[in-house]
Every structure is written in structure tokens, then in C-alpha cells.
């Protein structure tokens, strides 16, 4: 039995293009996130900074989560649409390359649904090389498409027996063009915008974390000069000691300041060991260990600098010295284990707080 299927032509045109700017913006944003997270992660690993490494890991995860949540309603809406099955006739087809056993083929189809207007659509679908001869111009096949997005049609390669029989006996009329087709990729401009986002993302991280990245780099690679002066601090390094004096308005308790100061004194390639580190509000003094002396020496870079502001604050408030006037942190390893000793002097006397090498408070003494 042969039946001929006529058609009413669908007046709908090409798929909506309002998503194009959104797609471009999304590409730019994705490029930015990739650039920023990669730069942060690699930079963080090089300079050994946990916040940078974490930024590199957390940023793409948060972006992915936000992207997932933002697209959730759209995907749920699309998934709820019941696909429509229809017969179609191949107007033309063209294999567009590929080195695998499944080659991408561009099909120009006339789709003739039973209860909807016919339409012409251009799709691309992978076809196995062995099955390729089955597809020829004027051949009838079964397609499936979401009624609200007919340009998303796909060929049903394994139709149900009922549709298989219909396709075998039906003759389907052609539908006049033009064929609607799925929105193409953003092309060269989109790729350039993504690349721009990538570069800007990387630049943003370099700018935001410049202190961490570049100061540390200089500290690691530079040869120490006898004296370095700048508008904000003065650094002096001799064979026995090193001092850093901060300028007005600065404090060793400022975030990262103490670590930066210590690293500026220890940028030798051989990582000089220290016997004593003394810190006051504006002054850092490191007494270096003589060459060959191992006992009681320690790496001044290994101290828990993040804990120092907390220890000083605790000593100021918890030791009952009244209104504190000055403080001093002394670090040495003369007792065998590394000890951090904070001495605060106030109106009502002097208090001492001792902590271990991790910054854990061991004992307190004061008024």
C-alpha cells in the first residue's frame, strides 16, 4: 500500500535569534572564569598561597553551580515538552567529514507531521558509515522534534514497527524552502570574545593578587642587596642580622605585612636560618644563624605569622596590664622547641604570653 502525504506549510521562520547576545555574554563570562581560576590556581601553587589556590578551585565550582541553577527552569521547561513524531523526506544530504565510524551528515528534510503544518528543516546528525547508504535523496524516514523547537529535529534510526511500516509505504511531498536550522555557533566573533574574557579574567586575578604574586616572586628570585629603601619601609641586611623598619601609618600587625617583611630579609637562594626573630610594631629584627650552626636555628619563614595579630591582641587584653603601651614578639629555639613570646607593657605592669610553633598558647603570665 502506498499513501501520499500532503501538507500545509508552516509559516514559522528561522529559530529566534534573541539568544545570540546572551550566548556571546555567556562565552565571555565563561572565558573570564576559566582565565581567572587557572591563573589563580597556578599562581597560588607557584607562590604557595592557599587563598589563591582556593580561589582557583572555588571560582569554577561556584560558576558551574550558578550556571546550573540559572538554566534549571529552562531545561525543566524543555524536558517537559512531549516530542512529536513525524514522517520526513530527505531533500538533500551531505557528509561533512569526520575520521570516525560515525560521520556527521547535514540533512535537508521536509517534515510532514500528521496534525501540524509541514516545514522544511536543516539538521546535522551522525550516521554510521555502514548505514550511510540507507539515506538517499527522496528517501522517507521518521523524525522526532519538540513542537516548540522544530529546528531541533532528529532522525529516529530505530522507529517503532508502526512508524517503520508507515515510512516504508508512504510518499511524502516536498515542502518549499527556506529550511530553518538550528542556531549556529557564535563563530569567530564569539571565539574572540571568549578569548578576551579569558585574558581579562587572568589579568583581573594578577591585578587583585599582585601583592601576593609579585612580592613573593621577587622575594624568591632576587639577590639580597645590602640595603633597600622605599617610601614605606627600610630594609637592611648584613651577614649577621636583618632589619625592616616600617614607615609611619604602617604596622607589623597589618595583614601580610610581617610575612612580607620576613621574606624580604630571607630571599637568599639558600634560605638562611635564624636564631632569633624580634618583632615590634614598626620594627622587625632577624638574627641569622652563623653558617654551619644548626642547633637552635629555624626557618624564619615557617612561623605562624597569621596567628601573630591574634596573639598580640590576646596578650593586650587578657593579661591585665592595663592600657597597653607597647608590645614585642620574640621567637627563638634555645629551649629546643620553637617558642613565640609576646611581652606587652601597660600602665599596670608587664604581661607575657607564650605560644608554640603553631601559635597555640602555652602559658600566660601577667598582673
Amino acid at each position: 500500500m502506498t499513501c501520499t502525504i500532503g501538507h500545509m506549510t508552516m509559516t514559522a521562520g528561522a529559530p529566534p535569534t534573541h539568544n545570540r547576545p546572551v550566548g556571546l555574554a555567556l562565552g565571555f563570562l565563561t572565558g573570564g572564569v576559566i582565565g581567572a581560576s587557572l591563573t589563580a590556581f597556578i599562581g597560588g601553587c607557584v607562590v604557595e598561597r592557599a587563598p589563591l589556590i582556593l580561589t582557583g578551585l572555588v571560582l569554577p565550582a561556584v560558576y558551574g553551580l550558578l550556571f546550573f541553577l540559572a538554566t534549571l527552569p529552562r531545561r525543566a521547561r524543555e524536558a517537559a515538552v512531549v516530542p512529536r513524531t513525524a514522517l520526513a523526506v530527505i531533500e538533500s544530504l551531505e557528509a561533512i567529514g569526520g575520521e570516525t565510524s560515525d560521520v556527521p551528515v547535514r540533512f535537508d528534510l521536509s517534515v510532514v507531521p500528521d496534525e501540524a503544518p509541514a516545514f522544511r528543516v536543516e539538521i546535522q546528525q551522525d550516521v554510521n558509515l555502514v548505514e550511510l547508504p540507507d539515506y538517499r535523496p527522496r528517501g522517507v524516514l521518521v523524525v522526532e522534534y519538540p513542537p516548540d523547537r522544530p529546528w531541533k529535529a532528529r532522525i529516529v534510526k530505530r522507529p517503532t514497527p508502526q512508524w517503520e511500516e508507515r515510512a516504508a509505504v508512504a510518499q511524502v511531498d516536498s515542502v518549499p524552502g527556506p529550511a530553518m536550522k538550528s542556531e549556529t555557533s557564535e563563530g569567530c566573533f564569539g571565539a574572540l570574545l571568549t578569548l578576551l574574557g579569558l585574558v581579562l579574567g587572568a589579568a583581573a586575578v594578577l591585578l587583585l593578587f599582585r601583592a601576593d604574586l609579585f612580592d613573593s616572586h621577587e622575594a624568591d628570585s632576587g639577590i639580597p642587596k645590602p640595603s633597600v629603601s622605599s617610601s614605606s619601609s627600610t630594609t637592611t641586611v648584613t651577614s649577621a642580622t636583618g632589619t625592616v623598619t616600617l614607615g609611619p601609618g604602617q604596622s607589623m600587625l597589618d595583614k601580610g605585612e610581617l610575612r612580607k617583611a620576613v621574606e624580604s630579609l630571607t630571599r637568599d637562594a639558600d634560605r638562611r636560618q635564624a636564631l632569633t626573630v624580634v618583632v615590634q610594631d614598626h620594627l622587625l629584627t632577624v638574627v641569622f644563624s652563623p653558617t654551619g650552626v644548626k642547633s637552635a636555628a629555624f626557618d624564619p619563614r615557617s612561623l605562624p605569622y597569621d596567628r601573630v595579630p591574634g596573639l598580640v591582641e590576646e596578650a593586650r587584653t587578657a593579661l591585665g596590664v592595663g592600657s597597653p603601651r607597647s608590645w614585642q614578639l620574640t621567637v627563638d629555639g634555645v629551649t629546643g622547641s620553637l617558642t613565640l613570646r609576646v611581652v606587652v607593657t601597660g600602665g599596670e605592669g608587664t604581661g607575657t604570653l607564650e605560644a608554640d610553633e603553631r601559635g597555640k598558647v602555652l602559658r600566660r603570665s601577667g598582673n
Binding site: A50, P51, L54, A79, A80, V82, P83, E99, T100, S101, D102, N128, L129, V130, E131, E144, R154, V156, K157, R158, P159, T160, P161, Q162, D306
Partner: protein, 287 residues
Amino acid sequence: MGWDESLVLWCAVWGVVALVGYGMSLAGVTKAQRTVRLTGRIERVREPRHGGSRKGGISVVVSYSDPVSGQEVTVTNDGERGDTIISCAWEGREIGVSHPRGRPHAYRFSNTPEEPSRGLGWPSFAVFLVYVGLVVLAAVDRGWPWALIGFGGPWAVSGAVHLPGAVRARNRRIERLAAMDSARGRVVAVLKDVSVDDDGHTSTTITPVVSFTTREGTAVTAYCTANLPHPAGAYGRDVTVHYTSADPAEFTLDRAAEHRSEKRQMTFHVLAIVVLVATAVAGAVML
């Protein structure tokens, strides 16, 4: 923020995720709990074409009864129909058909009818990530030997707990191997999938398809990826197939090889436990 705080935050975040997941499971709103699970029946098996692709599994026509309308629904495994492909089929075989509640068009297949699930997979994975975070935290805070203890210890205990079950499963499998029936079969197609990775390397997957008829007259078509020498040139070759009468999907071309494989798996299991115990002990000694 240092490593300690970051790890605590990591554990806290995944802990919250796990709690939310378990809460959703208790409330009965997980994806698995909103899935309708049905039993379908294979009505027709289409023989794979020689040289074709293994993607999508063996082409079958399946019917199942729609619980809402009570009507018989006929579907095929065309397109994306689940993570598992139908690799063994015969007319009358019962397979699993599932779909999200209210969306029967998004049906999925599984090789066997599925039991209802509470959807605890992701929450349990979140708990696993909390455990990993705690072990790393212990290693950072108290020294790296804690990493050996933290990873070796629990997995060794888990392996030891599962060992008796694994031994019983192996014994049952060996009994089934011994009781298998034999039938003449034929390689009716050899499927070939060529893929190219990003570096331009080409890889080819060869999948012979064997067909045999059981003593009860069931014509079985199945992918046969093991124990067939020179699979690329196996098209048309006659083979002897050993199968379990109760479930022809459990078949082999070489019972002795399967026997050896079971032994190897058990040895590997025991060896893994020994290595894990040794890891934990080494960690404890180094503390």
C-alpha cells in the same frame, strides 16, 4: 584563610549537602524517588548489522503497560535511553523501563527491572567528601601518617567486612558455571567503533555479536566482548556458548577462563585488604 579553615569549610559545605540530600530522601522528593519504574518486555530483536556501531545497544522493540492509562505502550531504544545499553536480548526478556514522574516520553532502559531507590547516592558521596576532608585535616594538623591511617584503616575494615559476601558470591558463581548448559552459537556480526581523541589518536573498539538458541528455544543475541580469540575476524565463526538456563544473559564462551577470573578477583580482594592494613599499620608506626 589557611588550610585548616579551608578544610573545615570544605567539610561543613559537604556536610550540609549530605544533610540536605538525606532530608530530601526522607521527604521522598529525590530524583530517584520521583522515578516511575516499570517492567518492560522485549517484543522484537533486530539483528545488528555487521560492521555497524555498538552505540545504543542491540536494537529492540519493547512494550510495557502504562500505569496511568493502562494501555500497552511500544517504544524502542533509539537515542539517549539511559547509561546502560542493552547488550543481551531475546524476545520475551523482561527489562527495566523507567521515566521521571509525569514525563513518560523521557523513558530509560536498564538490563533488568530496577528496584525502587531512595536516592542516597549523592548524599553518601557528600559524606565521603567530608571523610576525605577530615582525613586531610588530620594529616595537616597532626602529621602525614594520619593520612595513611585515615585512608588505609576504614577501607581495610570495609574490605574485610565485605570479604565473606564476596566469597559467597564467588562460590555461587562457580556453582552456576559448573551447572551451565551448552549450545552452538554463531558470530552474526562484528561491530566496529572508531573514535579519535583530541590528540588525533585513533582507537577502535571491536564488539562481536553472538547469537545462540537455548534448549528452551529462546533465540539470544548478545554482545560478546570476552574469551573470543581474534574478535576482528570472528564474523561467521561457530562457537560453543555456555549459559545459565534461568538467565541466558549470563553466558560465556570459556568456562575455565571465567573460573580463573573469579579466582583472580578473590586474590585481588585479599591483596587489597593486606595492602590497606599495611598502610594503616605503617601510619600508626610512624606517628
